[in-house]
Symmetry: C2
Subunit: 140 residues, 2 copies
Protein backbone atom coordinates (compact mmCIF):
# COMPACT_ATOMS: atom_id res chain seq x y z
CA UNK A 1 0.00 0.00 0.00
CA UNK A 2 1.49 3.37 -0.95
CA UNK A 3 2.27 5.95 1.71
CA UNK A 4 0.02 8.98 1.46
CA UNK A 5 0.76 12.34 2.99
CA UNK A 6 -1.66 12.38 5.89
CA UNK A 7 -2.39 14.59 8.86
CA UNK A 8 -0.80 13.35 12.10
CA UNK A 9 -3.09 11.89 14.76
CA UNK A 10 -2.83 13.41 18.22
CA UNK A 11 -4.78 13.30 21.48
CA UNK A 12 -5.71 15.99 23.99
CA UNK A 13 -7.19 15.38 27.41
CA UNK A 14 -9.58 17.55 29.41
CA UNK A 15 -8.57 16.43 32.93
CA UNK A 16 -11.18 17.30 35.53
CA UNK A 17 -10.08 17.69 39.16
CA UNK A 18 -12.24 18.00 42.27
CA UNK A 19 -13.52 21.51 42.84
CA UNK A 20 -14.73 21.93 39.24
CA UNK A 21 -11.22 22.53 37.95
CA UNK A 22 -9.46 21.64 34.70
CA UNK A 23 -5.73 20.96 34.19
CA UNK A 24 -3.70 22.96 31.68
CA UNK A 25 0.00 22.95 30.89
CA UNK A 26 2.18 25.90 29.98
CA UNK A 27 4.15 24.95 26.89
CA UNK A 28 7.89 25.45 26.88
CA UNK A 29 8.13 24.98 23.10
CA UNK A 30 6.34 27.05 20.42
CA UNK A 31 3.50 27.59 20.01
CA UNK A 32 3.71 29.04 23.52
CA UNK A 33 0.77 29.50 25.82
CA UNK A 34 -1.49 27.33 27.96
CA UNK A 35 -2.78 24.13 26.44
CA UNK A 36 -4.55 20.89 27.18
CA UNK A 37 -2.15 18.04 27.98
CA UNK A 38 -1.69 15.95 24.84
CA UNK A 39 0.58 14.91 22.01
CA UNK A 40 1.22 12.57 19.13
CA UNK A 41 -0.18 9.05 18.93
CA UNK A 42 2.49 6.39 18.44
CA UNK A 43 2.30 3.70 15.78
CA UNK A 44 0.66 0.68 17.40
CA UNK A 45 -0.90 2.71 20.21
CA UNK A 46 -4.63 3.10 20.82
CA UNK A 47 -5.98 6.62 21.23
CA UNK A 48 -7.05 5.84 24.80
CA UNK A 49 -3.56 4.65 25.73
CA UNK A 50 -1.97 7.71 24.15
CA UNK A 51 -4.31 9.98 26.13
CA UNK A 52 -3.45 8.33 29.47
CA UNK A 53 0.28 8.34 28.62
CA UNK A 54 0.41 11.99 27.59
CA UNK A 55 -1.59 13.06 30.65
CA UNK A 56 0.86 11.24 32.91
CA UNK A 57 3.93 12.56 31.11
CA UNK A 58 2.78 16.18 31.11
CA UNK A 59 0.96 16.46 34.44
CA UNK A 60 2.02 13.47 36.60
CA UNK A 61 -1.66 12.59 37.02
CA UNK A 62 -3.18 9.10 36.61
CA UNK A 63 -6.25 9.88 34.54
CA UNK A 64 -9.33 7.70 34.30
CA UNK A 65 -10.94 8.46 30.95
CA UNK A 66 -14.70 8.99 31.14
CA UNK A 67 -15.62 9.97 27.61
CA UNK A 68 -14.31 10.05 24.09
CA UNK A 69 -15.28 13.57 23.02
CA UNK A 70 -14.89 15.07 19.53
CA UNK A 71 -12.00 15.09 17.08
CA UNK A 72 -10.68 18.45 15.81
CA UNK A 73 -9.09 18.59 12.39
CA UNK A 74 -8.95 22.11 10.97
CA UNK A 75 -5.69 22.23 8.96
CA UNK A 76 -4.85 25.57 10.62
CA UNK A 77 -5.23 24.34 14.19
CA UNK A 78 -1.49 23.74 14.57
CA UNK A 79 0.87 26.17 12.78
CA UNK A 80 3.58 23.49 12.45
CA UNK A 81 1.73 20.81 10.53
CA UNK A 82 -1.75 19.39 10.02
CA UNK A 83 -2.82 17.41 13.06
CA UNK A 84 -6.09 15.69 13.92
CA UNK A 85 -6.74 15.61 17.64
CA UNK A 86 -9.07 13.15 19.35
CA UNK A 87 -10.15 14.79 22.60
CA UNK A 88 -10.93 12.77 25.73
CA UNK A 89 -12.51 13.75 29.01
CA UNK A 90 -11.14 12.20 32.17
CA UNK A 91 -10.90 12.54 35.92
CA UNK A 92 -7.96 12.51 38.30
CA UNK A 93 -7.13 13.10 41.96
CA UNK A 94 -4.18 14.97 43.42
CA UNK A 95 -2.45 18.01 42.04
CA UNK A 96 -0.67 18.30 38.67
CA UNK A 97 3.09 18.64 38.29
CA UNK A 98 4.79 19.74 35.05
CA UNK A 99 7.16 17.58 33.04
CA UNK A 100 8.15 16.59 29.53
CA UNK A 101 7.01 19.22 26.99
CA UNK A 102 5.22 21.20 29.70
CA UNK A 103 7.10 23.74 31.74
CA UNK A 104 4.26 23.98 34.22
CA UNK A 105 0.99 22.16 34.87
CA UNK A 106 -1.74 23.79 36.90
CA UNK A 107 -5.42 23.37 37.72
CA UNK A 108 -7.76 26.26 36.88
CA UNK A 109 -11.36 26.97 37.75
CA UNK A 110 -13.52 26.91 34.63
CA UNK A 111 -14.46 30.53 35.20
CA UNK A 112 -10.83 31.66 35.39
CA UNK A 113 -9.00 30.01 32.49
CA UNK A 114 -5.65 31.59 31.56
CA UNK A 115 -4.66 33.19 28.30
CA UNK A 116 -3.35 32.88 25.74
CA UNK A 117 -4.58 29.36 25.00
CA UNK A 118 -2.54 27.67 22.26
CA UNK A 119 -3.91 25.91 19.16
CA UNK A 120 -7.74 25.64 19.08
CA UNK A 121 -7.85 24.79 22.76
CA UNK A 122 -10.12 27.71 23.68
CA UNK A 123 -12.69 26.24 21.30
CA UNK A 124 -12.19 22.70 22.64
CA UNK A 125 -12.53 23.91 26.24
CA UNK A 126 -15.73 25.81 25.41
CA UNK A 127 -17.18 22.75 23.63
CA UNK A 128 -16.20 20.47 26.52
CA UNK A 129 -17.64 22.81 29.14
CA UNK A 130 -20.92 22.98 27.23
CA UNK A 131 -20.98 19.18 26.96
CA UNK A 132 -20.32 18.76 30.69
CA UNK A 133 -23.15 21.16 31.54
CA UNK A 134 -25.73 20.09 28.92
CA UNK A 135 -24.67 16.76 27.38
CA UNK A 136 -24.74 18.41 23.94
CA UNK A 137 -21.96 17.94 21.40
CA UNK A 138 -21.25 20.26 18.51
CA UNK A 139 -22.70 18.91 15.25
CA UNK A 140 -20.68 18.61 12.03
Amino acid sequence: MPEFRNPAPTVDVVILLPGDRVVLVHRKNPPLGWALPGGFVDEGEKLEDAAVREAREETGLAVVLSEQFLAYSDPRRDPRRHTVSAVFLGRAAGEPAGGDDAAEARAFAWGALPSPLAFDHAEILADARRFLLTGARRRP
Copy 2:
Protein backbone atom coordinates in the same frame (compact mmCIF):
# COMPACT_ATOMS: atom_id res chain seq x y z
CA MET B 1 9.68 19.20 13.92
CA PRO B 2 10.77 15.59 13.36
CA GLU B 3 8.51 13.16 11.55
CA PHE B 4 7.22 10.44 13.83
CA ARG B 5 5.85 7.13 12.70
CA ASN B 6 2.14 7.63 13.28
CA PRO B 7 -1.06 5.75 12.56
CA ALA B 8 -2.86 7.02 9.45
CA PRO B 9 -6.09 8.97 9.96
CA THR B 10 -9.12 7.70 8.09
CA VAL B 11 -12.87 8.30 8.08
CA ASP B 12 -15.83 5.97 7.79
CA VAL B 13 -19.43 7.02 7.27
CA VAL B 14 -22.62 5.35 8.44
CA ILE B 15 -24.98 6.58 5.70
CA LEU B 16 -28.63 6.28 6.66
CA LEU B 17 -31.23 6.02 3.90
CA PRO B 18 -35.02 6.25 4.18
CA GLY B 19 -36.61 2.97 5.23
CA ASP B 20 -34.19 2.47 8.16
CA ARG B 21 -31.41 1.30 5.84
CA VAL B 22 -27.64 1.69 5.94
CA VAL B 23 -25.25 1.82 2.97
CA LEU B 24 -22.35 -0.61 2.67
CA VAL B 25 -19.82 -1.16 -0.09
CA HIS B 26 -18.35 -4.42 -1.27
CA ARG B 27 -14.60 -3.98 -1.45
CA LYS B 28 -12.80 -4.97 -4.60
CA ASN B 29 -9.39 -4.84 -2.93
CA PRO B 30 -8.26 -6.84 0.13
CA PRO B 31 -9.38 -7.03 2.83
CA LEU B 32 -12.47 -8.22 0.96
CA GLY B 33 -15.99 -8.10 2.31
CA TRP B 34 -18.64 -5.50 3.00
CA ALA B 35 -17.56 -2.28 4.63
CA LEU B 36 -18.64 1.21 5.53
CA PRO B 37 -17.75 3.76 2.85
CA GLY B 38 -14.56 5.55 3.90
CA GLY B 39 -10.87 6.07 3.32
CA PHE B 40 -7.76 8.07 4.09
CA VAL B 41 -7.83 11.71 5.12
CA ASP B 42 -5.73 13.94 2.89
CA GLU B 43 -3.18 16.42 4.20
CA GLY B 44 -5.01 19.76 4.54
CA GLU B 45 -8.45 18.16 4.58
CA LYS B 46 -10.87 18.32 7.51
CA LEU B 47 -12.37 15.05 8.73
CA GLU B 48 -15.85 16.24 7.75
CA ASP B 49 -14.74 17.03 4.19
CA ALA B 50 -13.02 13.66 3.88
CA ALA B 51 -16.19 11.89 5.03
CA VAL B 52 -18.38 13.65 2.47
CA ARG B 53 -15.80 13.09 -0.29
CA GLU B 54 -15.34 9.37 0.41
CA ALA B 55 -19.10 8.82 0.63
CA ARG B 56 -19.56 10.47 -2.75
CA GLU B 57 -16.66 8.61 -4.37
CA GLU B 58 -17.72 5.19 -3.12
CA THR B 59 -21.53 5.41 -3.24
CA GLY B 60 -22.44 8.38 -5.46
CA LEU B 61 -24.51 9.79 -2.60
CA ALA B 62 -24.45 13.39 -1.37
CA VAL B 63 -24.33 12.88 2.38
CA VAL B 64 -25.38 15.42 4.98
CA LEU B 65 -23.41 14.63 8.14
CA SER B 66 -25.52 14.61 11.28
CA GLU B 67 -23.09 13.51 13.96
CA GLN B 68 -19.43 12.98 14.63
CA PHE B 69 -19.47 9.57 16.28
CA LEU B 70 -16.50 7.75 17.86
CA ALA B 71 -12.96 7.16 16.63
CA TYR B 72 -11.66 3.58 16.41
CA SER B 73 -7.95 2.98 16.82
CA ASP B 74 -7.13 -0.63 17.69
CA PRO B 75 -3.79 -1.33 15.93
CA ARG B 76 -5.22 -4.63 14.61
CA ARG B 77 -8.31 -3.08 13.01
CA ASP B 78 -6.71 -2.96 9.55
CA PRO B 79 -4.31 -5.81 8.65
CA ARG B 80 -2.33 -3.56 6.29
CA ARG B 81 -1.26 -0.82 8.67
CA HIS B 82 -2.36 1.00 11.79
CA THR B 83 -5.24 3.36 11.01
CA VAL B 84 -7.38 5.57 13.24
CA SER B 85 -10.87 6.00 11.89
CA ALA B 86 -13.18 8.86 12.83
CA VAL B 87 -16.71 7.64 12.20
CA PHE B 88 -19.50 9.96 11.12
CA LEU B 89 -23.24 9.47 10.87
CA GLY B 90 -25.06 11.06 7.95
CA ARG B 91 -28.20 10.96 5.86
CA ALA B 92 -28.76 10.80 2.13
CA ALA B 93 -31.54 10.37 -0.39
CA GLY B 94 -31.57 8.26 -3.55
CA GLU B 95 -29.93 4.91 -4.09
CA PRO B 96 -26.19 4.12 -3.87
CA ALA B 97 -24.03 3.26 -6.86
CA GLY B 98 -20.57 1.71 -6.56
CA GLY B 99 -17.38 3.36 -7.74
CA ASP B 100 -13.75 3.96 -6.85
CA ASP B 101 -12.49 1.31 -4.38
CA ALA B 102 -15.96 -0.20 -4.09
CA ALA B 103 -17.14 -2.79 -6.59
CA GLU B 104 -20.68 -2.46 -5.39
CA ALA B 105 -22.64 -0.19 -3.05
CA ARG B 106 -25.95 -1.29 -1.63
CA ALA B 107 -28.44 -0.33 1.06
CA PHE B 108 -29.26 -2.93 3.73
CA ALA B 109 -31.91 -3.09 6.41
CA TRP B 110 -30.31 -2.97 9.86
CA GLY B 111 -31.75 -6.39 10.64
CA ALA B 112 -30.26 -7.96 7.52
CA LEU B 113 -26.63 -6.80 7.33
CA PRO B 114 -24.37 -8.87 5.05
CA SER B 115 -21.31 -10.84 5.98
CA PRO B 116 -18.42 -10.91 6.15
CA LEU B 117 -17.93 -7.32 7.32
CA ALA B 118 -14.34 -6.12 6.85
CA PHE B 119 -12.13 -4.44 9.46
CA ASP B 120 -13.94 -3.68 12.76
CA HIS B 121 -17.04 -2.54 10.91
CA ALA B 122 -19.35 -5.06 12.60
CA GLU B 123 -18.39 -3.44 15.91
CA ILE B 124 -18.83 0.08 14.54
CA LEU B 125 -22.23 -0.78 13.08
CA ALA B 126 -23.37 -2.30 16.39
CA ASP B 127 -22.18 0.78 18.31
CA ALA B 128 -23.84 3.12 15.80
CA ARG B 129 -27.11 1.21 15.89
CA ARG B 130 -27.15 1.33 19.67
CA PHE B 131 -26.45 5.07 19.58
CA LEU B 132 -29.24 5.68 17.07
CA LEU B 133 -31.70 3.74 19.25
CA THR B 134 -30.63 4.95 22.70
CA GLY B 135 -28.33 7.98 22.34
CA ALA B 136 -25.65 6.10 24.28
CA ARG B 137 -22.01 5.98 23.15
CA ARG B 138 -19.48 3.40 24.21
CA ARG B 139 -17.24 4.67 27.03
CA PRO B 140 -13.42 4.48 26.90
